[in-house]
């Protein structure tokens, strides 16, 4: 995966670039809005990581120009402004995801991977399959092998999101945002309890667990045999 990081704080940028390289991605960096825009226009990137406040050209304006030129590369906005309306502003300007500072690298990585994958497009599938687990998005049926699993509506959406991003780490915040549509931090980890409920329905009694906890990051649905 090729990434462009437009961030004026050199320490932060260096840290992200190093971390992405460590997990096997190619990461370039630009230190201001003008350079970033030029590089984004020239290079072929899978995901752009754009800081909101940049010298020379504001992050939102960089995104606006890219979108005007028909460049649809997914953009993740980083911002010290973490409030709801700032996030809405960022997404309205053409960003695809928004992460307030300070963030953990695992959160950033999970989100960037989901964005890069979205480009490939799995949205159109009507049936998601992971090993012998099958989720039909139209009939709302879930089966593990031949056995039908009955889920509450929210559990269904939770599983749907996890399976849509099968093989990828999904963080608690991502779940809260995408499954529940809340953008705040519930002080207690309510998501964990929902996951364990879901786990008891889809994994309990089966030899091979599919829903895994990724320590320090989140959750992942994955075919463990592969």
């Amino acid at each position: 995966m090729r990434l462009l990081i437009i961030e004026d704080d050199r320490d932060a940028a260096d840290y992200i670039v190093r971390a992405f390289r460590e997990v096997g991605h190619v990461a370039d960096q630009a230190a201001d809005g003008e350079d970033g825009l030029a590089m984004a226009l020239d290079g072929d990137y899978d995901v752009l990581i754009v800081d909101r406040m940049l010298p020379k050209r504001d992050g939102l304006s960089v995104i606006g120009i890219l979108r005007d030129k028909g460049i649809e590369t997914p953009v993740l906005i980083l911002s010290a402004l973490g409030q709801v309306d700032d996030r809405v502003k960022g997404l309205r300007a053409g960003g695809d995801d928004y992460l307030p500072k300070p963030y953990s690298f695992s959160e950033l990585l999970a989100r960037v991977e989901v964005l890069a994958r979205r480009r490939g497009g799995r949205n159109e599938d009507t049936v998601y399959r992971v090993a012998d687990l099958e989720l039909d998005r139209l009939s709302h049926q879930v089966k593990r092998g031949t056995e039908e699993i009955v889920l509450q509506p929210r559990e269904f959406r939770l599983l749907e999101y996890l399976m849509k991003h099968a093989g990828q780490v999904v963080t608690r915040t991502m779940l809260l945002e995408n499954v529940w549509d809340y953008h705040f931090d519930p002080q207690t980890n309510v998501i964990d309890v929902h996951i364990s409920r879901l786990r008891s329905k889809i994994d309990k009694g089966f030899a091979q667990p599919l829903l895994h906890t990724v320590r320090g990051a989140g959750y992942m649905i994955r075919d463990g045999a592969r």
Partner: protein
């Protein structure tokens, strides 16, 4: 600037001058109109009387001749307060009447004239009177003069003129004095206000503007400014509290964080030991970030910035959503969480913030009711309720936990305040503060009530948003 100069420059005094001018002009106009009309009325009356007299006398002359006319004129001339009469021969010799002397040529021209004259019975020859007279030439060359003295008219005219002068003088003097008085009074109050403002600007925020209690516009101004000062003082107090609290509640975890890192360096433990130390460092900083975010959120809600994004949303849907989010957690803790909400409760506000506020209340309820539930063994209930009550919308969370003593209810809403016995329960101490700030942002309030046993936390919101609350 001298005191007088300051006084003359006041708005009150300038207004007085304007009113004074207008009023004086009006008085002059009124008196002038009165004088003019009186004069006209007098003239009309004189003209009518004289015309009637001449008509009657001419008739007498035509039917009975000059002798009869002379007799009648003689008789009428002697009556007290009579009109002026004079009958002369064609050559100008007087036959009858009470007019002593006239200027030359008055009798020669028939018609109306204003002239001077002297009465026949007057001894003082220096005194001349003015009269309005009509001369009529009779057949045979006789001349008849009938007229009225104008002294009365002129006297009245003088009286009116005098009254005008005096009243104008009085109006001006009283007006100026009143202007001075009002201006000085206003100036004194404004000066008092200015003094107070200076002390406040000097840093003493507890100062308040004097209110005279008359309910006038200056009082209203002072009251409004006082309300503003009240709010500013509260905000400043909040700010100070926050900085104090940040000092205390952020420094404590920061110290812990630093200590742990330092200890790891000093002891040089195994790799697993380093890992554990680093992990706890990250955990600690996550906690710090969370606290920090909550503080920012509260500050933001309190400053009223989030008011821009208010839309209509369904409070019942929020109650169900939050209930659904927390229900598994509650169940895990041995609590039964139920949601009581009608199909739809529309309210204007910031859905995200209200959701978060409600989530904090539910989170609290679960945290504090849990030990109680463990003790009793029986599942204790938490009720999340949304309802419309008149023009307000309430979102309520009721638990059967230990509750909050009535005396502490005001205090727990403040930032970082945690009651002694809840120190052991994890939390930042910001949940209720945030809920209260969100409620205030919407023009509503957070009410903490007893649930016998337990706590009932109620977010009251005006249905139409903060504007609707006025």
């Amino acid at each position: 600037m001298t005191a007088l100069g300051k006084l003359l420059r006041t708005t009150a005094f300038k207004l007085t001058l304007v009113y004074l001018t207008i009023f004086a002009l009006f008085a002059v106009f009124l008196l002038g109109y009165f004088a003019f009309n009186t004069r006209r009325l007098f003239n009309e009356q004189i003209t009518n009387t004289v015309n009637l007299d001449i008509e009657g006398l001419t008739n007498q002359f035509n039917t009975a001749g000059i002798r009869r006319l002379v007799l009648i004129v003689e008789a009428r001339s002697r009556r007290p307060g009579s009109s002026l009469y004079l009958v002369t021969t064609p050559t100008g010799e007087g036959l009858a009447g009470n007019v002593g002397s006239l200027p030359q040529g008055v009798m020669a021209n028939p018609g109306w004239t204003e002239t001077v004259y002297r009465r026949l019975d007057e001894s003082d020859i220096s005194e001349l009177h003015r009269a309005l007279v009509r001369v009529s030439h009779l057949p045979g060359g006789f001349r008849l003069l009938v007229g009225r003295d104008l002294d009365e008219r002129d006297r009245l005219y003088d009286v009116v003129l005098d009254a005008g002068k005096w009243s104008a003088a009085i109006v001006v003097i009283l007006g100026l004095a009143g202007g001075f008085f009002v201006a000085r009074r206003v100036l004194r109050r404004v000066d008092a206000m200015t003094d107070t403002t200076r002390t406040i600007m000097g840093g003493d925020l507890s100062g308040r503007l004097p209110v005279a209690g008359t309910g006038d516009e200056l009082d209203r101004l002072a009251e409004n400014l006082n309300a503003m000062l009240e709010r500013i003082e509260a905000l400043m107090r909040g700010l100070k509290e926050v900085s104090d609290n940040i000092a205390h509640d952020l420094k404590t975890p920061l110290t812990r964080l630093r200590n742990r890192a330092e200890e790891a360096l000093r002891r040089q433990p195994s790799e697993a030991g380093y890992r554990a130390a680093l992990e706890s460092t990250i955990e600690e900083s996550d906690g710090l970030i969370r606290t920090f975010n909550a503080l920012l959120m509260i500050a933001r809600a309190e400053s009223g910035q989030a008011r821009d994004n208010m839309v209509e949303f369904d409070a019942a849907e929020v109650a169900r959503g939050i209930g659904e989010l927390y229900e598994p957690l509650a169940e895990e803790k041995g609590l039964e969480l139920t949601v009581a909400a009608p199909a739809s409760v529309p309210v204007t506000g910031n859905r995200e913030l209200v959701s978060q506020a409600l989530a904090n209340l539910v989170d609290n309820a679960i945290k504090y009711a849990e030990p109680e539930a463990q003790k009793n063994g029986a599942p204790s209930g938490i009720v999340v309720k949304a309802a419309a009550e008149g023009d307000r919308v309430v979102l309520m969370v009721a638990d059967k936990g230990p509750g909050i003593p009535e005396s502490d209810r005001g205090r727990v809403v403040e930032r970082f305040v945690r009651l002694e016995k809840s120190r052991s329960v994890p939390g930042s101490g910001l949940g209720l503060s945030l809920a209260a700030a969100v409620a205030r942002l919407h023009g509503g309030e957070l009410r903490l009530e007893g649930n016998e046993p337990g706590l009932q936390a109620v977010i009251v919101l005006p249905r139409g948003g903060p504007q609707g609350a006025g």
